[in-house]
């Protein structure tokens, strides 16, 4: 027999790539911290303002107003606590993986999402960094495919430097130029 490229070995079904068994890595823990801080700061600040208005000694509030303010304050505390708790539990669940041929994002606390974007179908890719993300040294990697911007795959909470490396990986990928024209 002659050695050739041809082979026909048995491939165990379990060895075929599958979304169920993708190994993934977590995003930066700083993302959760940032969200928790932001939530506390924003809600704390508004709550403080309401509280000051409520107890300040300079002018009397007409009758239903203090009650309404109190209701608002209670609502605020509730929503703030909800968002805080949500980020506390949900952010560590955001994970992603870069495979040779696609990007996969895992996320969700109550609704678990797995989104898979083949690199072949990426239209363009960019990195977004808001002021707070910059402060925390984080970045969001956004990957656009055809079919409208609401299907954008966004991986938040990446260390700025690794977001840049991921972007380069995608840009250098040989598939990226295939779909053009």
């Amino acid at each position: 027999m002659q050695a050739s490229e041809f082979s026909n070995n048995v491939i165990p079904v379990a060895d075929l790539p599958s979304l169920t068994s993708v190994e993934s890595e977590p995003i930066s823990p700083a993302y959760r911290q940032l969200n928790l801080w932001l939530t506390s700061a924003i809600f704390g600040f508004i709550g403080l303002l309401l509280g000051i208005v409520l107890v300040q000694p300079w002018f009397e509030l007409p009758e239903p107003v203090p009650f309404i303010l109190l209701l608002c304050l209670a609502g605020l505390v509730f929503i703030g606590a909800w968002i805080f708790t949500y980020h506390y539990f949900a952010d560590p669940l955001i994970r992603f993986s870069i495979r040779e041929q696609d990007l996969v994002l895992f996320k969700g606390l109550f609704f678990k999402d797995i989104i898979c974007q083949p690199i072949l179908r990426i239209q363009h890719i960019d990195i977004q960094r808001g002021p707070f993300e910059r402060l925390a040294g984080l970045a969001t990697l956004k990957v656009y495919s055809a079919g409208g911007s609401d299907h954008t795959l966004a991986i938040p909470g990446l260390p700025a430097e690794s977001a840049e490396r991921m972007r380069q990986f995608v840009l250098n990928h040989s598939d990226l130029s295939q779909d053009e024209a």
Binding site: Q101, F110, F111, I115, L120, R121, G147, G148, D150, A181
Partner: protein
């Protein structure tokens, strides 16, 4: 290829469209002013006319007309374009000059329109769509048909050349095609079809509207019956109920009247839009031509079609008709009305056989109508009941029981029964299936909608499950295509995983193009 067209050497080549395009600019201006007039005229009538002497009014109107004409002429004069090897460059605008540079390969679509004022000159408005934003489109008004065809030919040729240059091994057909190949008409719609389309596309409205011929007899009969039944009603339910009853019946009649009008409007709209409908095929393109007053021509390249959709509402099913949609890339021009959008090609109210034939033409070997579908899990039905039917029933109960007491309970129960039936029909209809080439999706309630697309057109996959679904190993599947997202709820997890893994592997391995 984003080097701008060489303007220095192309200076001599700048050309204008036909002077008749002034007509087009005039009408555009008129359209705009009508929308402004809606605000201005009431203001004028209310106050301003006291301040303006009546003698001046004709002058003002004359001034407006002159300014329209002047601006039309200026717009025509300042609209210049040049065609180079790589693309089309356009200079336009009177005050703020814009320079648009359209490389051929970025032009997605060439659309021909014939507004009524160009009808007897047989001139066209040519719109060039690009893949990018909707603002990046070019309109050539007042072009002769021959020139429009040449333009289209040039663009297609240039793009083909570019494509073969970029990917030598592309799956595109070899270049030995004869451009002269004539259009082959593959579908026509008669006036009868269009009337049917107008009727069926108004959906629920028509059920009662269809009773129109019997309207008068019906009214007499109803009133007679009501009068004769009145004593009994009073006896059974009390005199208050009689009032309700009368009001109810009168409302129903009013509604029927409205529906007849709606149906007529709908039929009118259908004829206006689709009069003289032909769907033809030339080489690898589908071309739709239609319109009573404004002739419209939309063409779509076969390889650009992302999804094929066969839509049948309950009324369509009764009449055995199907609406077909060829959908392509949606990026850029998302907010257009369905019938006008260049990204959708609609074939209105064809018969089932014609639908199947066209489906075969677009995506051969499809089996949308006879493949076995995997349905949504029964939990989907319970979810519908829980988050849609129950809240609605509570609202109905509060409204009816509050006003009508015991009858309210009956009404509420009736509502609950109907809503549950709809929910059940809806749940039953969902289905997903696949074969080697295509993925099929079925949905609807009393109607049926089939969507199917080649697996190679897939852009992105998203799987979603909540914690309850996770326990039951159920998944909702989102398939993103260039034409938009298709969702299928509550599927068995194993099926979804194997389907998505296979499809992704196929795409990533063979790297098929989607345009």
């Amino acid at each position: 290829m984003n080097a701008p067209v060489d303007t220095t050497s192309a200076v001599d080549n700048w050309q204008r469209v036909s002077p008749w395009s002034v007509l087009h600019f005039l009408f555009e201006q008129l359209k705009q002013s009508v929308s402004i007039a809606v605000y201005v005229i009431p203001a004028f009538i209310l106050g301003a006319h006291n301040n303006i002497p009546d003698a001046l009014v004709p002058f003002i109107i004359a001034g407006l007309v002159v300014s329209f004409v002047v601006s039309g002429v200026l717009k025509y004069w300042f609209f210049q374009f040049t065609i180079s090897k790589s693309g089309i460059a356009i200079r336009s605008g009177v005050l703020d000059r814009t320079y648009t540079d359209l490389p051929f390969e970025r032009i997605q679509n060439v659309k021909f329109d014939q507004p009524f004022y160009f009808r007897f000159l047989d001139m066209l408005v040519v719109t060039l769509d690009t893949a990018g934003s909707s603002k990046q489109e070019a309109k050539f008004a007042g072009v002769t048909r021959d020139y429009a065809e040449t333009l289209k030919h040039t663009i297609l040729q240039a793009r083909k050349y570019h494509q073969t240059a970029v990917q030598a091994s592309a799956e595109d057909s070899p270049e030995t095609e004869q451009q002269v190949a004539a259009d082959q008409v593959i579908n026509r719609r008669s006036l009868k079809d269009l009337i049917l389309h107008g009727i069926t596309n108004n959906r629920v409205w028509i059920l009662l509207g269809a009773a129109a011929p019997f309207y008068e007899q019906g009214t007499d009969w109803v009133i007679n019956q009501m009068t004769s039944l009145r004593p009994h009603i009073e006896q059974w339910f009390g005199s208050e109920a009689v009032t309700f009853w009368y009001v109810g019946v009168m409302t129903a009649m009013l509604v029927i009247g409205l529906m007849v009008i709606m149906a007529l409007l709908s039929v009118g709209g259908s004829i206006l839009m689709f009069y003289g409908y032909t769907l033809s095929k030339r080489e690898d393109k589908y071309i739709r031509r239609s319109g009573l007053i404004n002739r419209q021509e939309v063409s779509m390249k076969h390889s650009r079609i992302q999804v094929f959709r066969m839509q049948q509402d309950w009324l369509d099913r009764l009449l055995k008709r199907v609406n077909l949609y060829f959908e392509q890339n949606v990026t850029g021009n998302q907010y257009q009305p369905e019938t006008k959008a260049a990204n959708k090609l609609l074939v209105p109210s064809v018969t089932v056989e014609q639908a199947v034939a066209l489906a075969e033409d677009v995506f051969p070997a499809q089996q949308a109508r006879n493949i076995t579908y995997t349905g949504a899990h029964i939990r989907y039905f319970w979810r519908l009941m829980l988050i849609v039917v129950t809240p609605l029933t509570v609202v109905v109960a509060m409204l009816t029981i509050g006003f009508l007491g015991l009858y309210g309970v009956l009404l509420t129960l009736a509502f609950l029964a109907c809503a549950s039936a709809v929910a059940r029909a809806c749940w039953k209809r969902w289905g997903l299936a696949h074969d080697d080439q295509y993925i099929y999706l079925r949905k609807g309630a009393f109607g049926v909608d089939y969507w199917y697309f080649p697996r190679s057109k897939l852009q992105q996959v998203a799987l979603c499950q909540n914690i309850f679904m996770q326990k039951r190993r159920l998944v909702s599947l989102d398939l993103v295509l260039a034409s938009g997202r298709l969702t299928m709820p509550y599927l068995p997890q194993d099926y979804v995983y194997s389907l998505t893994d296979d499809t992704l592997a196929e795409i990533e391995q063979h790297k098929p193009g989607w345009m």
